[in-house]
Symmetry: C3
Subunit: 137 residues, 3 copies
């Protein structure tokens, strides 16, 4: 399962980084939640997740910025209800066209994942930025 | 074993990064050694390892800095005595409250790991900073 | 296979980073290709790959720079001919002697890998820099 989750994240974040936002949104459950403390409130459901990420992808493309999400330092646990808790560190790397790569942000990412046949879906993602102080750990 | 070591590091470094220094120290053998070329001499034994890391964690907390240790590029070998040699690259990422994330340091980390039931413990850790020149490789 | 490729990359890039350029070149097929958009043209064959990487390693050593290649976010697929397509993100970290670590570059790395007994070899590597705009994805 550990390796399957690593593989899932590699595919999932690449979809986001390549601006394939419909496929990205489809890696969440239909009613999945994206809760990031950099956002005014949690984004709920595939449609809202797609629309928020499309807006972000279009802005990055307009600004000529290539963004990469790295997830690592994966911890996996099984929850009593059979869902999985997957905790990672995340780095966001930004490179402007013709410019130097930069470390844009460091966050944690805590996911509740559910099995979907042979695949996985995100039920709930909680992203906490290291520069903000509302962390509950 | 490879995956188990990845998982071990994710848990172990998160303990350090969250300031859970007693649990962090308990991931070393009772007489484990932490040998880092940024320190005046190797730190020996759980108590000393805990005390050194607690001092560092308190200083970071006082300074409002969130630190993340990323280990990656894992190589694993078995040694003749049955212990494991686990070699990684390590990045330390620092984010001040309200400020930008920064790459604090790049090091290598060479561990001798021992099996402890279903778990692992560090017998000896050797950290070598990329900015110093005392590397033996 | 996923884990084997992670392990292969850890070994392979460490060879490069330690300047062990003959061993590095031997991780490619004899007629392997290294196609990076930062180079004027693809480098073909072990001899040319070794010679190009040795020149780069000597320059880094002369400049007192320690370079680390991190590969992560691995995606693996099997191709119809039985070879493997391994896609990763790559970060290059540079640390000058006595100076601060820096993020040198962010790229993608798409490899065609072939089995060689119990081991793997690179048949074709395609590196695309995030700061350049000739990306085909």
């Amino acid at each position: 399962m550990y390796q399957q989750i690593q593989h899932f994240y590699a595919r999932q974040l690449r979809l986001l980084d390549e601006g394939r936002t419909a496929e990205w949104a489809a890696t969440f459950e239909p009613g999945g939640v994206f809760d990031a403390d950099g956002l005014p409130e949690p984004v709920r459901g595939r449609e809202a997740i797609e629309s928020a990420s499309r807006a972000a992808a279009e802005k990055l493309a307009a600004d000529g910025i290539r963004r990469r999400h790295w997830l690592g330092m994966l911890e996996v646990g099984e929850r009593p209800d059979g869902t999985l808790l997957a905790r990672t560190y995340a780095l966001i790397i930004s490179t402007p066209r013709g410019g130097p790569a930069g470390l844009h942000m460091s966050t944690t990412c805590d996911d509740v994942l559910v099995r979907d046949g042979a695949d996985l879906l995100v039920r709930h993602r909680r992203v906490r930025r290291d520069d903000l102080d509302g962390r509950e750990d």
